[in-house]
């Protein structure tokens, strides 16, 4: 077994863990209630392995079976897992088990896990988060070589930010669960008789929960789902994408180790690994005993899961048509850099990346006068090219492309667009300094018209940008909001100095369920979503139902059952 968390691993009772992490929990609960800025990791360095030590530990795991003590299953080589950076197979074997056995082990773990108090469960979950943070550099390398993310993002977006979203889910769940009173004394007069009852209220978990991860950014959705489930008392089966297992397997290893050290059954968190050739997700998702499914992945498969997993409550995040509406700029260069950054970041393999940028025929008002539609297009292309032209910067910002299929789809789309539309920037691969064989692509940027909705009115995964010519910004707004409502969107972006237009945009995107970012430029990527503060996925459009993190993300995972009896004297 890798020893990636030696610094913190030690036996500790659930009550001790509750006590140890009480203050962090309280801070997180305050933040999640007020939606203010908060991170558990600001100004902290991971206490676990870093630098060469981390690299050595990561390399030692390659070509090696991953050991998950006590986990059922037969070690099986994961042939679908190939680094997007090196194009070499990772060669890791994971324990593989059949769905019924995993579910049975989950069911066995449920009663003792749900018998823990809410504070104890929170303490154990936060201990898991702290241990994952300690191992952040090693987990980041695993994220990097499965998702294709750059080194920085693999430690922040897939590391601390994802862990913060996990902690947010712990806090949100704690808040919801702790509001349910454990007992009440009740008195009411019936006729002349005073009836006095004592009532107890019990949190009952729904049952085994399945968490299906996507290939390109698994941690960000897996951690909130796992922790919301564990807080509610549900045992969890984490099912990574077959091409992107290692980071989640190491995360599960740390979670199980934490459970074991706390004297709990480690099967409260299990790993389900399958292959592209022999998938297991549908079997797990539709099993009668699986009661919760968190699904992140394609819209098509997500719809299948929602259609067929009728025995479960399904929380989903699939895909969306994120739009940029351009009306007027206060700082043209800053705005163009911001938009170019968002379409470049991790090569738009993020659910918050914009795809459809609306370009008004009438141009955009700037302090220097009107920028024509053509000038605006050229400005965006130049700003995107500036990011891609330095291989070092490209490696950090664009990262690699997770799946060969994305490269193929972009090639096919480019051919289609050449025949039908104006391709303004052809996708091209570029050589990353550290990994010359990396699977890479600059964005495909094409000009289309509103009539080309067969092209732009569905998600094209990866670095694909449509510059959609529209008469004016209001037309853009209407169209973008209508597409968000009909086809799904998580984010929307507006640049405008026109307050009535901003008001209209807030109305329209609120109704369509897309979170709106207005006039943001500068160092923060405009599609960055802040844990504790930004609600992510509204549930109002087809992009999904799993809102990070509102009450509804928690309330479907447990139920309350009561018992009542005459008030006993000892309780008076």
């Amino acid at each position: 077994m890798m020893t990636i968390t030696t610094a913190q691993a030690s036996t500790c009772s659930p009550a001790e863990l509750a006590s140890r992490h009480r203050r962090l929990l309280a801070d997180a609960v305050r933040a999640v209630a007020a939606r203010t800025a908060f991170s558990a990791f600001t100004g902290r360095e991971p206490s676990g392995p870093q630098g060469d030590e981390a690299t050595a530990l990561f390399s030692a795991q390659l070509e090696t079976p991953l050991d998950l003590p006590g986990h059922i299953g037969v070690p099986t080589l994961q042939t679908d897992e190939v680094s997007p950076w090196t194009r070499l197979p990772l060669g890791v074997s994971y324990p593989r088990a059949e769905a019924p056995a995993l579910i049975e082990h989950a069911r066995q773990a449920q009663a003792p896990w749900s018998a823990r108090t809410i504070d104890e469960r929170a303490g154990i979950c936060i201990e898991m988060i702290e241990r994952m943070f300690a191992a952040n550099v090693v987990l980041g390398l695993a994220a990097m070589h499965t998702t294709g993310q750059g080194r920085g993002m693999s430690r922040s977006g897939s590391g601390t930010n994802a862990l913060d979203r996990g902690l947010e889910a712990v806090a949100a769940a704690w808040q919801v669960l702790s509001r349910v009173p454990t007992a009440a004394s009740w008195e009411q007069t019936f006729g002349a008789e005073l009836v006095a009852l004592e009532k107890t209220y019990r949190i009952v978990p729904m049952g085994p929960a399945l968490v299906v991860a996507c290939a390109s950014f698994p941690a960000w959705n897996v951690y909130p789902a796992v922790f919301a489930n564990l807080m509610a008392g549900n045992p969890v089966i984490v099912k990574p994408h077959p091409s992107s297992v290692l980071q989640m397997a190491l995360a599960v290893e740390i979670m199980r180790e934490t459970l074991t050290d706390a004297g709990c059954d480690p099967d409260a968190v299990q790993l389900a690994v399958d292959s592209a050739a022999e998938p297991i997700t549908s079997i797990l998702a539709t099993h009668p005993k699986v009661r919760i499914v968190d699904f992140t992945g394609s819209a098509r498969y997500g719809a299948w899961v929602e259609e067929h997993a009728r025995q479960a409550r399904v929380y989903s995040e699939t895909s969306g048509l994120n739009a940029v509406v351009l009306d007027s700029f206060t700082d043209t260069d800053a705005a163009l850099r911001a938009v170019a950054g968002a379409i470049s970041l991790f090569s738009a393999q993020m659910c918050t990346a914009p795809q459809n940028i609306y370009v008004p025929e009438s141009g955009v008002v700037t302090p220097e006068g009107v920028l024509s539609a053509d000038e605006l297009e050229q400005g965006l292309i130049d700003a995107a090219a500036a990011i891609a032209e330095s291989p070092r910067r490209a490696a950090a910002v664009l990262g690699a492309i997770q799946s060969e299929r994305t490269i193929d789809e972009i090639a096919d789309l480019t051919a289609t667009l050449r025949a039908r539309a104006h391709v303004l920037s052809e996708p091209r691969s570029w050589a990353a300094p550290e990994f010359p064989r990396a699977r890479t692509s600059t964005p495909l940027i094409a000009r289309v018209s509103l009539d080309d909705e067969d092209l732009f009115a569905h998600e094209c995964f990866g670095p694909v940008v449509f510059l959609i010519r529209v008469p004016d910004a209001r037309t853009a707004l209407q169209r973008a909001a209508a597409d968000a409502a009909a086809h799904g969107a998580i984010t929307a972006f507006l640049y405008s100095t026109d307050e009535p237009l901003i008001d209209s945009a807030e109305e329209a995107f609120a109704a369509a369920g897309a979170s709106l970012t207005i006039n943001v430029t500068g160092a923060m990527p405009i599609n960055f979503s802040a844990a504790f503060s930004d609600f992510h996925v509204s549930g109002l459009n087809p992009a999904g139902t799993a809102t990070l993190t509102d009450d509804s993300f928690v309330t479907g995972r447990f139920r309350v059952v009561q018992s009542r009896r005459p008030l006993r004297p000892s309780h008076n």
Copy 2:
């Protein structure tokens, strides 16, 4: 139009209503958070018509079109509505409209309604509740002559208790909604740059909501659903059962009148009336624009709605197999009276009524020694007979049978049981003093064995009781809990002095999702469910998913969408 609420009807702005009802809201919020005893109506008499005046107003509505000012639809005689007490058609005409028109009117009402603040919506909802309370006696007569309830129950269970459950939903929703912050200032450093954003969070309603009522106890489920929806900003279409319209139509009249008086669009609450011959529920429930369905009714149709209303979030309450486990008594007569009362109350046409009573072969321990199984059976039969033997008491407790079909089904079942089991008490009709033609029945009580699960393992609606012989109480407990989990149950009842058995029962019924009442005797009907305190329907078994009232009853009815932009100086 009937003037059933003259005492309170007056023009009043939403802000004034919010202010007027602020204190009651605060009291209700406190009660719902602590689950303590509370009622808005203790010690109060309705200010509206009572006695002869109420009777005259009710009678004046019979054989007359109900006027709902501004409501779409063509007045149509409701031929399915026949009083279970007089067996005479009510002869009321209601406006009938097609589903698309109702939904379009709801959609028109949504934006202005959801633009009201949460406090204003609460003020208007509580004003509706107060006006319905003022009209409690007239609404009670309407409940009585549609459901068959006795006069007392029609004013309490279908009156104040149902209104309290409605107020509970207002308070629960207010609590959930008001926790979502409306805005936050957010700062985070990216590199050397401090990024400061202002964020706003907006409650967005899901869309038109359909509330489908049952025939025998509509108010109790309709009020919570209507008010949870209105609080979340959703316009509501109330769809009564075709044989039980009048009470809900009058309630909708009062709600619309309140909306109009507050300067709001009355179409935020509409009435959908259909007939048994031309039902409209399936069309409404599966319409793409209907986003919430609250369904109370049969398990079979409820399953159809859940299967087909895929565009909506469905909250359901269907049926269940409520059980009584008998182990030991401290007061034999009191226990027998309590159980007999529960099987007699409104002739078991309540979702909380027990059907399956487990009788241990070994008998039941009492202070006077062991009561044999045969003695126990006889005791129950005698206790039930004592209730039915006085026509006046029978009219008050048993009430009438809502549907002729229930009478037919009991007759069929009696024939089956005569051939297969031991019928201990044959159902017989009895003459109510005030209404000699009333449709009535004493309970059918039969002894069966555990092998007769084809008889007892599904709900037999109405006054049907199986005395199931079991070896001992623990066997009964296991079987009752297993049936609750598999077939659905809302309540369970236990009489025992054995604390380890009580602990086991609490565990088993909590896991099965049935609310447990232990050793309760006396003036309170043991299947009484207290607003603000008792959670009703757990969502853990097939009896339904609509829990009165927990957070999950509210959180599925709205979503939160955010907008963010650079912090403006004026906001510093």
